[in-house]
């Protein structure tokens, strides 16, 4: 009787110990698995292949929490700017007919250097750095000067 009791107890403790270990190891292993975004501070993002990006077009790239407007000018050059309009925080778009960045909310215009040239925007758009490495477009935060 005492023998079965002891055996049962050992099985209980062993089983519970295994379950407990599982409930510790599972969170730990999940924690160590790299998350969707690899880093807290996004410093650069990949934005697809340069050869797939049409000349005289633009698209929004999610740069962490910041939307970034990546454009390719009609000369084939890549440029990127923060896509949030400096007027009332709408998202700007690329107008291939005007070759301008344009904010639909209040008809604000920015030139291809990100400068506000018409409409209500009070300030230029902050630029981002674009590099093309092995046909891959990489948008990154501009390095601070100095």
């Amino acid at each position: 009787m005492a023998e079965t009791r002891r055996k049962f107890l050992n099985v209980l403790i062993g089983g519970a110990l295994l379950g407990w270990l599982g409930s510790v190891l599972y969170p730990v292993l999940s924690f160590l698995r790299p998350p969707r975004l690899a880093e807290a501070n996004v410093n650069s993002v990949k934005a697809g292949l340069a050869s797939d990006f049409a000349v005289n077009s633009g698209q929004i790239v999610k740069f962490g929490r910041t939307p970034v407007m990546l454009i390719r000018t009609d000369t084939g050059e890549f440029r990127a700017f923060e896509a949030t309009c400096t007027h009332l925080d709408c998202i700007v778009q690329y107008r291939s007919d005007l070759k301008h960045l344009w904010c639909a909310c209040h008809n604000g215009h920015y030139d291809l250097q990100g400068r506000n040239i018409s409409g209500p925007p009070p300030r230029p758009l902050a630029p981002f750095t674009v590099n093309v490495v092995n046909d891959e477009i990489i948008v990154s935060k501009p390095q601070p000067v100095g």
Binding site: G15, A16, L17, G19, D89, C90, C105, H106, N107, P120
Partner: protein, 422 residues
């Protein structure tokens, strides 16, 4: 369509910035060399007998245009009588009616001005005589503003210099000198409250309190030298210089023609003129603050349209607010809100666009945009709730872990009892 007008304001700013770069020398140095050998300046400085507003930084003085340029006389002699003798062209204080001609002698001459300020306009005098000021001056009214009233006579600076009386931040005060003086303006039968109204307006606050030179001063709507009260036809264009979409929607709306027919002043009927206040959604609708009710009554189609437009806006605002509140909760409990933030940005954008679309006065157009926004806000709300629910599922994990811990604890307890018995 990019009219020159739309570009006008930006061009002005860029132009000013250019002047800053190119003509930097004109006002960057504050200790100008006094014109040498100029006996007027030498004597009057010695005697300290100078015009009240005399400043050594005066842009003309620095370019070598000294007293005789405007007052006539001979600057080469140090004898005061000889310098002002007949035949020297000495005029003393020029008559007020004469100043536009005097200034225009140089400023209306493009080839002359080119040597000093290649980018400066040369049509100021021409414009001035179109203005009410100019026309009255022509009639011999000596109380109206002429060049020196705004630019001063002896302390003239480029408009881009912050010390200038015509620097954007200083313009309202400069105009106020006369237009805010009830006694002075009594003869003209116009209000003198514009400055106070302006100072309370969104534009005035931005300009005078926040020192945002992007905000309009008096001249941005009334014109600089050709100052006129904007007419019925031009008003929409004036506001539309900056508020492009609003003006365009209005011009294309069913409201534009009747407004013109009964000579209503487009924008200002609802928004006011000098006292333009920050807008709010209840300006539409039929409740308190509604501007639609100024003209429309219950029973009209417009009354219903106003109601509908307000309902659309209010619906989106409510949807946005409830989603934003949930987003804050998501952040507070430490869940991921990145996608929610993007969706809310979209919803907010729809709201801004819908508010602009109010100027179409078409409930369907406003509604179409608010529907987009509401959809985004709902999506954000659903995502927030999902995240909060997922936060709740932590409790399931907690329950499971608790189960194992409890089992283990019971096992240990029994084991301890067993061992203690031994």
């Amino acid at each position: 369509m990019m009219t020159a007008l739309r570009y006008g304001y930006r061009a002005l700013c860029w132009g000013a910035a250019w002047c800053l770069c190119l003509g930097g020398g004109a006002f960057a140095q504050d200790a100008p060399p006094m014109p040498e050998g100029d006996q007027c300046v030498a004597c009057h400085l010695d005697l300290e007998e100078l015009p009240e507003d005399f400043q050594t930084y005066d842009v003309h003085l620095k370019q070598g245009l000294s007293c005789v340029g405007c007052h006539g006389g001979d600057a080469t002699t140090d004898d005061m009588d000889e310098a002002k003798a007949p035949g020297t062209g000495f005029v003393g204080v020029p008559a007020r009616t004469d100043t536009p001609r005097l200034c225009g002698a140089c400023h209306s001459n493009p080839s002359f001005m080119h040597d000093f300020q290649p980018r400066i306009h040369t049509d100021q005098v021409e414009q001035y005589f179109i203005s009410v000021h100019g026309q009255k001056l022509k009639e011999g009214d000596l109380k109206v503003a002429e060049c020196t009233s705004c630019h001063t006579a002896h302390a003239i600076l480029p408009a881009a210099d912050a010390r200038s009386t015509v620097y954007p931040l200083n313009v309202p005060a400069t105009c106020k000198t006369c237009h805010g003086d009830a006694a002075y303006m009594a003869d003209y039968g116009i209000r003198t409250s514009q400055f106070d109204a302006f100072a309370e307006s969104v534009h005035g606050k931005a300009l005078l309190e926040e020192h945002d030179v992007g905000a309009p001063a008096c001249n941005d709507c009334h014109g600089n030298h050709g100052a006129l009260p904007p007419g019925v036809a031009s008003l929409n264009q004036v506001c539309g210089t900056c508020h492009v979409n609003n003006a365009q929607y209005f011009a294309e709306s069913a409201m534009a023609e009747p407004f013109e027919d009964i000579e209503l002043h487009a924008c200002i009927e609802c928004h006011g003129a000098h006292d333009v206040r920050k807008t709010f959604d209840a300006m539409t609708g039929v409740g308190e603050g509604s501007v639609c009710l100024d003209c429309h009554d219950e029973g009209e189609d417009a009354y219903e349209a106003a109601q509908e437009i307000y309902a659309h806006l209010a619906g989106l605002v409510a949807a946005y607010d409830s989603a934003a509140a949930q987003q804050r909760e998501v952040v507070r409990v430490g869940m991921d809100d990145m996608d929610i933030a993007y969706l809310l940005k979209d919803a907010h954008q729809s709201l801004i666009q819908a508010r602009t679309l109010v100027h179409t006065f078409d409930p369907e157009k406003v509604g179409a945009r608010t529907d987009e926004g509401v959809a985004k806000a709902r999506e954000a709300l659903a995502l927030s709730l999902a995240q909060i629910k997922e936060f709740g599922t932590r409790r399931i994990g907690f329950g499971l872990a608790t189960l194992f811990i409890t089992l283990l604890a019971i096992g240990l307890y029994l084991k301890i009892r067993e061992i203690d018995k031994r």
